[in-house]
Amino acid sequence: MTPEDIEHLAATLKARSGLILGSDKTYLIESRLSPVARREGFANVSALLSALRTKRDEKLMASVTDAMTTNETFFFRDKAPFDQFKSDILPALAKARLSGDLKVWCAACSTGQEPYSLAMLMDEAKPQFPRINLDILATDISDRCLEKAQAGLYTQFEVQRGLPITMMVKHFEKVDEMWRISPKLRSSIRFKKLNLLEDLRSVGRQDVIYCRNVLIYFDIETKKRVLEQMATLLADDGCLFLGAAETVLGITDAFKPMPGMRGLYIKNAASAQTGARRTA
């Protein structure tokens, strides 16, 4: 791998997905791109990188970008963002809306564990909120991830990460050595490919946004642009969840943290009557 190849890769990734590669990532590049090199018939990663530089092959750029994303996720990750949704956000928004759709957007859903966790929570809460329908939109830049999310098919290892056994028994069936989530939950989520670097207006109004563990890969300008677009999409009494290592502080004042609820943010200009705030 020449420094020029790596520089070109870094520029490609930043332009296409916002990913900041950082220095000394040779090992990461090697391990993530070896399978792509093999699949696409290159002798090694170096050969793949120089082809990427000289050929501008759209399909190749897309697979490389996809392969370089970090897709780590699991059911009910960090717990609190789901507990808070169930105990505070959902009751507050249900009270404010009385009936109809509550719109939730998982903005970097990876292989689907985050939206499915929400769908399972809603299934449990349904008797309490019979007139509320949770409309979950789950998006990601990665075709590979979306395909898996849509199939709802997980390994034994994946269904044991974060998923209580009673929920597994209730919502999954065993298919050979894999576990498949029920058609009912699968059909309750709209999966769609979406790059957060694009104009996000097509997403439409949302009540709750989960944007967790994706902004960490972006530079500050990109974080700011994404967050400010999300603020315009979010209902005034809605809220935003970020990952445990992420914040809005020092990036934008479109949002402010909810005191006492880690990872939870509300719109700064939101009126005092907001549903999320009422629960504070």
Partner: protein
């Protein structure tokens, strides 16, 4: 310190489980099968039991039924840890009063997550 009884006929599995559990600040006792486990519980009820299904002499589910009839036998939190990984076995375990269920192979992360799920951590 809470105690956890590890019931498994494989010495290797008991050793692996012991190491993980000791790191989680448990005092660990071991039993080779359900009958040994029952004897151990009669002497001293543990807070938690990590329980294999298939074992010689007395299997895990038979042990669990017997345990629940003992004095104080409703108290221990039971987590199955077995290669049996079909819904029929899992449902039976939950019906008999197991709180969680680990499908082998497992690692420290899974065990820790399951133990915290049932409030043992």
């Amino acid at each position: 310190m809470k105690t956890c009884l590890v019931v498994d006929d494989s010495r290797v599995i008991r050793k692996v489980a012991r190491r993980i559990l000791e790191n989680l600040q448990f005092e660990v006792a071991e039993a080779n099968d359900g009958a040994e486990a029952l004897k151990s519980c009669k002497e001293k009820m543990p807070a938690a039991i990590l329980l294999d299904w298939n074992m010689p002499v007395m299997d895990g589910i038979t042990f669990l039924r017997a345990l629940r009839k003992e004095d104080g036998g409703k108290a221990p939190i039971v987590v199955f840890c077995t290669t049996e990984n079909d819904l029929a076995h899992i449902t039976e375990a939950l019906t008999e009063g197991a709180s969680e269920y680990i499908m082998k192979p497992f690692d420290g992360e899974i065990l820790e997550a399951k133990f915290s799920e049932v409030g043992l951590l």
